[in-house]
């Protein structure tokens, strides 16, 4: 009997091979050491990071790179906080300059309250960045048509939201995620809106290649335990997806044979 060896089941993005299908954010933690420990426990080998001004006045402020070694963990520069294409492009060009990062996450927001992606600006930015040689993982809404446009524009991964960023609502539109899964061969990674570990399992069972989680771990009552829970839930979901679920039926179907009943 063949059993899928999950150790050989790698996540591949832009020809880069990753062991974990869980990507974690590095924001919202109490401090850098809590962040570093949670990441370690999560088993993630990609973390998202933000580009911001260096604090000129307080030089003793701890640096992310002192806690999370970019040689061991892949930094995924993110444009969170950008509300137009120009700002996003500027941010990622700067990110590339810091240390040669080409694999990036594009996130152009359109509304300060719901934090939904501004898809016209996102599409425009994807085209430009791809032409400049960036490998662009794109945060987007869960619209299959837009996902196809992003793919045609050169995205290296499609990252639809489950729900608004930081909302913890879980996957609100499973059907759209499934449709996107069926239409694309690109890595499909659920980004934003997950609230608990089981949400990640559902994402993986829908056939997603990975999930990106930040708030649900960083703001859990016990972030370390939640980091572990997410690690396990992603593995469980992937295994379940590969195992192939049974068909859904309207009526009952007994598990024990009816023949030979006393």
């Amino acid at each position: 009997m063949e059993v899928v060896d999950l150790k050989k089941d790698k996540l591949i993005i832009a020809k880069k091979v990753f062991n974990s299908r869980l990507i974690v954010g590095t924001g919202k933690y109490k401090n850098m050491s809590q962040c570093a420990k949670a990441i370690k426990l999560s088993g993630a080998d990609i973390v998202t990071v933000a580009v911001r001004r260096v604090n000129i006045t307080d030089k003793n402020k701890p640096l992310l790179m002192d806690y999370i070694d970019p040689k061991k963990i892949t930094y995924l520069p993110n444009t969170a906080g950008c509300f137009n294409s120009n700002d996003a492009l500027r941010t990622l060009r700067l990110a590339r300059e810091i240390g040669g990062w080409k694999l990036v996450k594009l996130e152009v927001l359109g509304d300060k309250k719901n934090l939904f992606p501004e898809m016209i600006e996102t599409l425009k930015s994807t085209e430009i960045l791809s032409k400049e040689g960036f490998k662009v993982m794109v945060y987007c809404n869960d619209d299959p048509l837009m996902a196809r446009r992003l793919e045609n524009a050169g995205a290296c991964a499609i990252m639809p939201l489950a729900a608004p960023i930081g909302s913890g609502l879980g996957i609100l539109n499973k059907i759209n995620i499934k449709i996107i899964r069926n239409q694309t061969k690109l890595p499909l990674i659920i980004d934003a809106g997950l609230g608990q570990a089981s949400d990640a399992t559902i994402a993986m069972e829908l056939g997603c290649d990975g999930v990106l989680v930040n708030t649900a771990i960083a703001k859990a009552k016990k972030p370390f335990e939640m980091a572990l829970a997410f690690k396990n839930s992603v593995i469980a979901g992937r295994q379940s997806y590969l195992a192939g679920r049974i068909e859904k039926k309207l009526m009952g179907n007994p598990s024990s044979p009816s023949k030979g009943l006393i």
Partner: protein
């Protein structure tokens, strides 16, 4: 004594006075910035970090020095 002329630049959004003919490399040293961990923009153009000693700062220059911090 001859007074050293100062120039006014904007560094990460804040005004700063520097002696005339300060180059970018000098500024980075004054600030004790770990050069390998940052990117530098001068008047919205990204600067090649290998060439910072050749860039003389002038009045009204706008400099942005950025790095990676925690984010989602």
């Amino acid at each position: 004594m001859k007074k050293i002329k100062k120039i006014k630049i904007k560094l990460n959004g804040k005004v700063r006075l520097l002696p005339e003919k300060t180059n970018l490399s000098k500024l980075v040293k004054i600030l004790k910035i770990p050069i390998k961990k940052v990117a530098i923009e001068l008047n919205q153009e990204i600067i090649d970090k290998r060439k910072i000693s050749k860039i003389l700062l002038k009045d009204d220059d706008k400099i942005e020095i950025v790095h990676f911090i925690g984010g989602g």
